[in-house]
Amino acid sequence: MKYVTTIGEREFLVEIVDDNTVIVDGVTFLVDFDSAGSQPVYSMLVDGRSYEAYVYPAEDSLQVLLHGTLYTANVEDEREKRLRASAGSRVAERGEYYLKAPMPGLVVTVPVKEGQAVERGDVLLILESMKMQNELKSPRAGKVGRVRVKPGDSVEQRQTLLSVV
């Protein structure tokens, strides 16, 4: 099975030959890979070198936390990759972004209004949780869509707070 795995600017062609053989960009590695007692912690021996990492599923990607460094990896199988390539360039950052509550808490302020233009990094909402005031920021530029909460609201984890169009 062949995959194209992208981390940052780098693309790796990873072929999984069998349970103990992986070819990365033409170089063959002897691997021994297994969950280390409890997911998402995995242990892997690669040509004798011992690695341990957390591998978290994220939207459309996997986050690999290895020796204190976080890598965001996109794994596609080769066929998908070819299909996507023939369909044109990478998917643009489009569509509505829904800001969801990362934890239960109390809405303190919503410093933006519906229709307001925001930049990447602008504070969209302040949520109080664990005795801290937490700033939730916009991951990209856009316009604020519907705001579904107001100051004083208690919100559940994952509850949609507002959107950026």
Partner: protein
């Protein structure tokens, strides 16, 4: 003399105090909120009583209920820990009125030092230098503070009068943003301490935050236990502490001078029990009194590891009226200790708190490693309390050994179920500026990044790629397997075994 102690707190510090009591042969009483029925402090105590709802104001801030429980169960003393009721003079007074020993200073000392403005006035009279700020009355109105601000000069800090630990603190760069920040600070102070009063203080730039631990008995003896370096902070929350301070280092004269000033500050309010005098130290090693924390500090273990003293046990001995067992000349610092605060927060996502059930954990153990924690696999990290999961503390013969030990301990530490700031500490341990002791209180926010590891750190994208691909491959294989069976409802494995039985 009391033999039963009620611990009016939760989390790691409640467990820490429980252990000290137990090791002194004392009976222990825990109190808990509805969210904490399964917490370690409830499990480890001899007795445990429910206070009320999960919100602090319904439970851990209910001084009246706590005193009632202490009286009913025959506890002779209350240890307040830190936070919650620890620096409330009225609570200390109420304990005293109820005939209970309060394991901490007298109400008058808490009041004097607790109101930061009064504290500054008091220590100034005792000849201790202070940072310029709004002295005198602590409960100034917004309009008064806005008027005084330009005299102090910007940047300045809004700080909670009743506060500590960075709660209710805001940095102000110019007058126009001050009204909004005053509002936010007062709200946070009210929520954290039940007291919305704030004061202003000049922000000393390039400053280090160094504090002196003191112990004082009821008989007028005061000793200091050397300094702690606490400059590594984010949003005024301490993240890492060490003792000694690499900034003080071999400068024994500076250490003793700060120690003496700290002792003088404590004596100015007839201080009894354990306390901490916080100083700001500028580049020229001038130091200014910042505030006194009239309680046990989160970071007390680093002092314990270098002095060999058990500060909580000393607190209890002092509260029982004993004389200090040490004179200043008996206190010696040996080796180096570092503490990393392990918080349930995601360093890759703006340090947002992370809640959830800890499903799995591997603690770092072995020589020179101490962990103070109140959590365990199966425990739920709730949004009601602060995000401190545990304190990882190491000792080494030298600072270099302590750093190497901390690195291996951080690498060993596994927590599954919530995100933690362990990777932040790992990056910090690898930072050349940290290793060189070259940092001030702004270092973490202004000159440290999780995204750009310094050179020398091994970046391993190809290994990460293999991990990711193998995990994705496994999931694909598993999904394909299930879809081939044409069934996705109910648990896959349950269903498969059932399906297989039917085929027989």
């Amino acid at each position: 003399m009391f033999n039963k102690v009620l611990i009016a707190n939760r989390g790691e510090i409640a467990v820490r105090i429980l252990r000290a009591c137990r090791e002194l042969g004392m009976q222990t009483v825990a109190v808990y909120s509805e969210a904490d029925r399964h917490a370690l402090h409830v499990r480890y105590a001899d007795e445990a009583y429910l206070l009320g709802g999960a919100q602090s104001r319904d439970s851990y801030l209910r001084g009246d209920k706590i005193i009632e429980i202490a009286r009913k169960c025959g506890a002779g003393a209350i240890h307040p820990g830190y936070g919650f009721l620890a620096e409330r003079a009225d609570f200390a007074q109420a304990c005293q009125d109820a005939g209970l020993a309060f394991i901490g200073p007298r109400p008058s000392a808490i009041a004097a030092m607790g109101d930061k403005a009064v504290a500054r006035a008091t220590v100034t009279r005792a000849g201790v230098p202070v940072v310029p700020g709004t002295e005198g009355e602590g409960s100034l109105r917004d309009d008064e503070l806005l008027q005084l601000a330009p005299q102090i000069g910007f940047p300045l800090l809004i700080k909670a009068t009743a506060g500590g630990g960075g709660k209710g603190m805001r940095e102000v760069r110019f007058l126009e943003e001050m009204p909004g920040l005053l509002n936010a600070a007062r709200r946070e102070a009210e929520a954290s301490f039940g007291d919305g009063n704030v004061y202003l203080e000049k922000l000393v730039e390039g400053a280090r935050h160094i504090e002196i631990q003191i112990l004082a008995d009821e008989h007028g003896n005061v000793v200091h236990l050397g300094e702690r370096e606490c400059s590594l902070q984010r949003r005024h929350q301490k993240l890492l502490e060490e003792s000694p301070s690499p900034f003080v280092g071999e400068n024994e004269e500076l250490r003793q001078r700060m120690g003496e000033v700290a002792v003088r500050a404590a004596q100015a309010v007839h201080y009894v029990n354990a306390g901490t005098i916080e100083f700001l130290v500028d580049k020229d090693k001038n130091f200014y009194f910042l505030e006194m924390n009239t309680r046990l500090q989160v970071e007390h273990p680093v002092t314990e590891l270098v002095t060999g003293l058990d500060i909580v046990k000393e607190q209890i001995r002092i509260a029982r009226g004993r004389h200090l067992r040490y004179q200043q000349s008996d206190v010696r610092m040996n080796g180096w200790a570092i503490e990393c605060r392990i918080n349930a927060e995601d360093p890759y996502n703006n340090f947002l708190p992370s809640t959830g059930r800890i499903s799995h954990s591997i603690l770092p153990t072995g020589p020179g490693v101490r962990v103070d924690t109140g959590v365990f696999p199966g425990f739920e990290i709730s949004p009601y309390y602060d995000s401190l999961i545990s304190k990882l503390i190491v000792w080494g013969e030298t600072r270099a050994e302590a750093i190497l030990r901390m690195r291996r301990a951080l690498e060993e530490y596994k927590i599954v179920g919530v995100r933690t700031n362990i990777p932040f500490h790992q990056n910090l341990m690898d930072s050349h500026r940290f290793m060189g002791g070259q940092f001030d209180t702004r270092f973490v926010e202004e000159r440290f990044s999780m995204d750009a590891p310094e050179e020398g750190r091994g970046s391993r994208p190809e290994i990460a790629a293999i991990f990711a691909t193998l995990v994705a491959h496994r999931e694909t294989q598993l999904a394909a397997h299930v879809i081939r069976r044409g069934e996705r409802d109910t648990s896959n494995w349950k269903w498969l075994s059932r399906w297989e039985r039917l085929q027989r």
